[in-house]
Symmetry: C2
Subunit: 276 residues, 2 copies
Amino acid sequence: MSITIACCQVELEVGSAEHNRQACLESVERAARDGAEVIVLPELANSGYVFSERAEVRALAEPLDGPTVTALAALAAHHRIVVVSGLCEADAAAQMPRNSAVVIDEGGLRAVYRKAHLWGREPEFFLPGDQPPAVLDTRFGRIATMVCYDLEFPEWVRTAALEGARLLCVPTNWPAESRPTGERSMEVVRAQAAASVNRMFIACSDRARTERGLVWVNGTVIVGPDGYPLVGPVYDDRTVTITARVALEQAEDKAIGPHNDVFADRRSELYRNLTC
Amino acid sequence: MSITIACCQVELEVGSAEHNRQACLESVERAARDGAEVIVLPELANSGYVFSERAEVRALAEPLDGPTVTALAALAAHHRIVVVSGLCEADAAAQMPRNSAVVIDEGGLRAVYRKAHLWGREPEFFLPGDQPPAVLDTRFGRIATMVCYDLEFPEWVRTAALEGARLLCVPTNWPAESRPTGERSMEVVRAQAAASVNRMFIACSDRARTERGLVWVNGTVIVGPDGYPLVGPVYDDRTVTITARVALEQAEDKAIGPHNDVFADRRSELYRNLTC
């Protein structure tokens, strides 16, 4: 079965909840009309990223039945699509907000994942998750989600892959760092390697619009199981959606040539020092 | 302390033990004279790679006190350097040869590592190792070694990094696969990501000379802890040595910015599904 994946890079603005929601809904609506079936939005798509203080985050955090998830669920139901979005989440069971990713399909909210590896000042603002990446079956195949810096931990990507994910959806807010001329951003390189060693698709939606001085990679990209980008990276600081039509079942095949298999070849009995 | 790393890409020829040894010794000698202090040779540097049958491998396998290690040890002693080389090893304690990497310094053989993740038809010819990557202190700093396909298992690279390796030396024989125009070989991309997520140097020595129809990546490369190549990849099917002068202690610093640390940020208590 071939499906169309869309990654929406969106111009967000910290603190402008209504603007962010509308911008995300418009991107999703347009992508769905153009035939996308799995649509990925950036990290913290409802709030923006560069918070000045805790109170700002708390004011922007929404519960799982709040306006952003509700509106995305309506779109998902209408178009019979899957949406994966970053969410600044008000978690009633926790003392602090969460940097979450939600998976929504025609039946509503299917999964919530809380970012486990926090970046920068995020520990001031968010409680880290302590559950593995969300991995679930959808009508378009088995997908997983994690958030931004999570992707830099190969252990975490492997966890999702071993749970059978064919497509890993990664809402991100990638801060730009300088890089040598002609080099691809290391964020994208890591996504490529992660796809390649796990033979799965990875779809990363970065955000746009410089925020309080922070510049983004704008590295929205969809990578195939061979590790090469199918489309992107965008590298342009604007709202844009990229799409790739893929046969997701390719990611079930972990073989490389007649003799090797990236899962079967693991020597997991020797990996003991990775856990504690 | 700054040191010079050299990766020698060498034209090898399966079955021509004397040719291979001389070619490797010449490359090491030249690199040492030019000031290299840690010198990496390709995988199976004494034997070549594309074996037709078991008897051919057995005939080429050498013990750890055989002519190749002995000659490299003499060079290492003379120049007071560290040499890491792939070796088709006759292991008296095993029923089959090993696809090994040896670490040699001025005091002689310091470590032998047996490739744990075997590629292609290698299981017909070699017994896989069951020990972690070799990690040891040298006068130039703490280095590690693993072989070729091992590098595609992030668990294995992490194992070496967590043991304190500043530089990972990887003898390889990378078979070339087709890739999209303008794309870097995925073998190199994976090395970049591995260096980046572990903030360590990685030096990969590929081989040259098409062998029995098998074409190589010729991807010899030295990557810095930020994941960007310091020199290479070569992409030219010939004997050539690349060098980089580096401050190896940079790899002790696992910080990214003021808030993050790629080791301290690991959530190892959550990585339990990686082992068995």
